[in-house]
Amino acid sequence: MARNSLGREIPETFAGKKLVPYSDPWSVQPHAERSTRQIRRIAHNGSKLVGGLREAIIASGLKSGMTISTHHSLRNGDRLLNELVREIDALGIRDIKIASSSVHVVHSELVPYIRKGVITGLECGVNGLIGELISKGELDCPIIVRSHGGRARSLITGEVPVDVAFLAAPCCDEYGNFNGFFGPSACGSLGYALVDAQHAHKVVAVTDNLVPFPAVPVSIPQSVVDFVATMPSLGDPKKIVSSTTRITTDPIGLQIAKHAATVIEASGYVKDGFSFQTGTGGISLAVAEHVRNMMRRDKVKGSFGCGGITGYFVDMLEEGLFEALFDVQCFDLKAVQSIGRNQRHMEMTAGTYANPFNCGAVVNRLDCAILSATEIDVNFNVNVNTESMGYLLHNTGGHCDVAAGAKVSIVVCPSIRGRLPMIRDEVTTITTPGETVGVIVTERGIAVNDNLPELKEELIRRKAPVKDIRQLRDEIQAVTGVPRPVEFEDKVVGLIEYRDGSIIDVVRKVRE
């Protein structure tokens, strides 16, 4: 065991992999060539259509012990991964690692296949039951949680070699050109899949919407796609895009959004060239609404909006408030429709979005970003992975990437959730290091990190409720009482990888 710079105990190895303890957000340097794959030449008039999933698995040469991937742009509506694993099992293939861009609640169906030994490792974070069972020790499957940028890095460096990528292709032709813009399972941007298409050893496009050649616009070209397979339906469209992304009506949420808007205004970045990212939560959208009004009022021409894109950002683009949107993932139907129509609504790969190991990710160009949290500690470290019972329930998403990139990263969080104080001495799990977090906003006040002294001064000048983070912690605990800590055993069941590949924290088995 070694302690990383944040005091977390990191084992020497995990699942046979030697670990590098996290030190700081900036200093790890890559020592790798871009990962390679075999160049191939296919028969001049060969067909890529192989039939269904089973035929595609056979054609791809998938064998026991290999690694597969899928993308999560269909989110909780995805049918491909469950169906794929069923077929892999039926073919008698075992010991498969999953390196998808994320695993959702809908993929709880994989649990029996993990127990059976079909799936023996998760090279990606998970949302929901699988993580809970692993945390309880009821499911034995090593899990490595990566951020969006970190996952792109791990494929590009070859650290996670994906043998076969099965990529849901909502609009695809028989020669493998595809996009996510159209069709019954349209999901918009294929930002995550774009990385797999370039780096997986074999690429299978799986579609429920085969269109006459060519499928345009081409997001992923025929030249990188080995096979095309069909299945009746890639996903449940109602669950692919969330139609419930709307501004919060909760008074606490609205108060938080107002404070966050004050922070953004005080940052001085809301001027021509402004760039901004929010999530899809009700509070984030309420902040976006404030920002939009500020930009209108001051006649600001922003530079770009980024991240998972919602209809709010589409409206701001179409209103001329931003020059462009960089979209790694569409969060609602309006965003899906826009990306197929607006030239300035750019599809962006997860690598370009957030990979720390390239010539500059888009997050580096962000002025202000709104992030969420499940817990925050007095050193500004943020947890989004584990919940109050200590179970691993959420994937990192772009959290630590955006925090590191944005000039002012603003974490919005109610001070209390179901009696649990959200600011504590130590978070259960560190997802994002405090060094990269600028401001914590709760309804009870605003805590500014010491690395933004000018912003703090300006907020005080504007009579915003700026408080020391320890004072906030004390105020909250006076209301909730001091919770007993959740107890853990020594056994490490998962890793939280920082975007650069170093280990920022581990997930231990919860003592029940």
Partner: protein
């Protein structure tokens, strides 16, 4: 006071709790809570404080808590007790 019949107060909404009380020969407290691991000791202390203040020495007290704060626990238990007391 004495619990002479069933009484109930509260809701199952987040940050609230449901309290049910009914007559019994001795005092039994059953706590279900979404934050049992972290707060059972404080919830129990608050329940016992209110029961002692109201002079309740026997009864079956059940709570189903969704992360309520102390003042809500106090108010819901008092209301349930008043509904369960004899006229």
């Amino acid at each position: 006071m004495k619990i002479v019949k069933k009484g109930q107060a509260g809701t199952m909404q987040s940050s609230d709790l449901m309290v049910t009380v009914e007559p019994a020969d001795e005092l039994v407290i059953d706590i279900q809570s979404t934050v049992k691991k972290q707060f059972e000791h404080l919830i129990r202390a608050k329940l016992e404080e209110v029961l002692a203040r109201c002079g309740v020495t026997a009864g079956k007290i059940g709570i189903s808590d969704r992360g309520a704060l102390d003042y809500a626990i106090e108010a819901r238990l008092e209301a349930a007790l008043q509904r369960a007391g004899g006229e």
